[in-house]
């Protein structure tokens, strides 16, 4: 966020704190958002399959922003994000199914409920940090998924899975993916701008101070416990909204979908994308959602080309898991700052061309 092209001088603080450092970036962003809005109208460009992937990416972006707020910005390692997303999904499902409430209320309610649960399970952060907090959130993850979601069958239907209908807006049902697309899109854009603004406020800066050195932050007057809980609340709110959208999108809530693997996936997103960066959350979400899809398509394309005598099926079965792990390990060893840093490096090398070094 600090890296800017040279010659771009700021004359007052308002300019300096602006979200868009240059006018070009502002124009590009507006054009990009317009393109995102136009996507479903271009069936020749975006097939139903690609649209499905795009919706998944948008929903994932919301969850990834939440993950980045708690872990990337506030420095509190949480592996309960998957379970928090599940809380959002179930809140939404129960409200919509039992009380017939429309999405205007279910999505905020999912966010608020998850924020409360997040604060509850984040409260061990009063005493714990680092590895020990990670363990506490791990316990929360298992308790919520393996016990609450699976066993509280009167509410969640457990392994039998809860069904849900696609929501309707002003009496218009969003059953078609091309219409549903706009719901996560609008929320994802709002979430992105809220996150960008959050880190220009006092609370957001306190998060960063807390991450960089908690004791020093406390010495300059930041109430650590309060800010840790605020971080958990905001992050879980995002997770809840993300979960509600998953529920509406899948129309089927499976408790196993919110297991430890989902938490790890979100951690992988912020690591591959870039910790403590909004752009990183988005790039990471695109990358981690696209990876299994690319593998799947690669397998579909390659399988017929290989003679049947070679038993290739097993190798492909493990390919996705292996690549997922490999990507995490390679990013951490080669580029710990993730895709965000790679993007900066790429842009810098273009700016400095032909004298890049």
């Amino acid at each position: 966020m600090i890296r800017r092209p040279c010659g771009n001088f700021k004359k007052n603080y308002i300019q300096d704190e602006g979200i868009f450092p240059t006018r070009l970036l502002k124009i590009v962003t507006v054009l990009f958002i317009l393109l995102l809005f136009a996507l479903p109208l271009l069936p020749w460009l975006i097939s139903d399959y690609l649209l499905y992937v795009a919706i998944t990416v948008l929903i994932t972006v919301i969850g990834a922003l939440g993950m980045n707020i708690i872990t990337g910005y506030a420095g509190q390692i949480s592996v309960a994000h998957g379970a928090f997303i599940g809380i959002g999904a179930y809140t939404c499902g129960i409200l919509a199914n039992r009380l017939g409430i429309s999405l205007w209320l279910t999505i905020p309610a999912a966010g608020v409920t998850t924020a409360v649960v997040g604060v509850l399970f984040g409260s061990p952060s009063l005493r714990l940090k680092g590895l020990y907090l990670l363990m506490a959130t791990l316990a929360a993850q298992f308790f919520l998924v393996d016990y609450v979601f699976m066993e509280w069958e009167s509410m969640t239907k457990g392994a039998a899975m809860m069904e849900l209908e696609r929501p309707s807006v002003f009496g218009f049902a969003l059953t078609n993916d091309r219409h549903f697309y706009y719901l996560p899109l609008i929320i994802a854009i709002a979430a992105t701008f809220f996150t960008m603004n959050l880190f220009r406020t006092k609370v957001g800066r306190a998060f960063i101070a807390m991450r960089d050195r908690d004791l020093a932050a406390e010495l300059i007057g930041i109430d650590l416990f309060r800010h840790k809980l605020i971080a958990f609340a905001i992050s879980s709110f995002y997770a809840g909204v993300c979960g509600a959208l998953y529920a509406y999108f899948w129309t089927l809530i499976n408790p196993q979908a919110f297991g430890l693997f989902l938490s790890i996936q979100y951690l992988a997103i912020i690591i591959c994308g870039g910790m403590g960066s909004v752009r990183g959350s988005i790039l990471g979400a695109v990358f981690i959602v696209a990876l299994p899809q690319i593998v799947k398509n690669f397998v579909i394309v390659v399988t017929p080309l290989i003679p049947a005598a070679i038993p290739i099926g097993n190798i492909f079965a493990g390919l996705e898991t292996l690549l997922f792990g490999l990507v995490i390990v390679l990013f951490l060893i080669i580029e710990p700052e993730g895709l965000n840093k790679m993007w900066y490096n790429f842009r810098a090398s273009i700016n400095l061309w032909p004298f890049s070094y």
Partner: protein, 294 residues
């Protein structure tokens, strides 16, 4: 009452296996300060390695068992050298995530080789059924307990008596001081991982013999997190005691509470304990309390 003793005795047997695997976890944490999320996957891989050597390559027993231990030691060394060595000095989350990523790589590789089918280990354990009053202990539990205990004693003697063991303790105690005494810290790091691989393989064999071998055997090692938190992440005696405590608790929760609270309680009970322990004694029963200075 028979039911009680049944749960008690099987709990102690499983607990000994947990203790042994947890020692690998503690070893790695003590010497390298890495939270080893790969241990569960190493347990699963260990079971598969023994299965592959005995069943798929049909090697004789006296060759297969030492070979599997050598493979496990080598795997541990390799992991440390290739993945953990470049991560020295990186932030906590990166190091944790690299072990999670590694677990995923190993699991993917295992799926490629052994698919997601179920296998059962050949019955190589002597078929001795021990009758303790009304309770009968089947061979995997009995031998699991005996071998785990022997291995724990062997490791304790190794740390007390051999030069290498003392060097490992020195590194855990004070790294710069150990370096200045001429101890190769890199070698100790590698050795910690190798020993973690070794105990994981032995533990994997018994857990595989008790249950069945599958790619998801790594979940059987999940209660380990509760074990190391309860005992304290850097305490070997803590790991040994907590292993038995957690296994007993899991067994009793499964036996007595699951009719009331649902079947999931057996899997969740260790984590509830973990949460309570963290709230009351964050550094576990025997762990070193970290004092932080600015």
């Amino acid at each position: 009452m028979v039911f009680f003793f049944h749960l008690l005795i099987l709990g102690i047997a499983i607990g000994a296996i947990y203790s042994m695997i947890a020692i690998g976890f503690v070893l790695v944490y003590k010497s390298t300060r890495v939270l080893n999320f790969t241990q569960g996957t190493l347990v699963m891989l260990g079971a598969f390695i023994i299965y592959a050597l005995l069943e798929q390559l049909s090697l004789p027993l006296f060759l297969a068992l030492p070979l599997s231990l050598v493979v496990a030691l080598g795997l541990g060394f390799l992991i440390e050298r290739l993945v953990l060595r470049p991560m020295i000095g990186e932030p906590l989350l990166s190091v944790v995530m690299v072990t999670i990523g590694l677990a995923s790589v190993l699991k993917g590789g295992a799926i490629m080789i052994w698919t997601t089918e179920y296998f059962s280990l050949p019955k190589i354990l002597p078929a001795t059924f021990l009758h303790l009053g009304p309770v009968t202990i089947s061979p995997p539990y009995l031998w699991g307990f005996i071998v785990s205990m022997l291995l724990i004693i062997a490791l304790t003697l190794f740390f007390k008596l051999t030069n290498l063991g003392i060097a490992m303790r020195a590194v855990a105690n004070d790294q710069p001081a150990a370096l200045s005494m001429g101890i190769s810290v890199k070698w100790v790091f590698g050795l910690s991982w190798a020993l973690a691989g070794l105990v994981a393989t032995v533990g994997g064999f018994f857990l595989g013999a008790i249950n069945i071998i599958n790619i998801n055997l790594d979940h059987a090692a999940l209660p380990l997190f509760a074990v190391v938190i309860l005992g304290g992440m850097d305490s070997m005696p803590g790991a040994i005691i907590a292993g038995v405590v957690i296994a007993l608790l899991q067994n009793f929760a499964g036996g007595y509470l699951s009719p009331i609270l649902g079947g999931g309680i057996k899997a969740v009970a260790p984590f509830l304990v973990l949460l309570i322990v963290l709230m009351i004694k964050p550094y576990g029963l025997f762990g070193t309390v970290e004092v932080e200075r600015l």
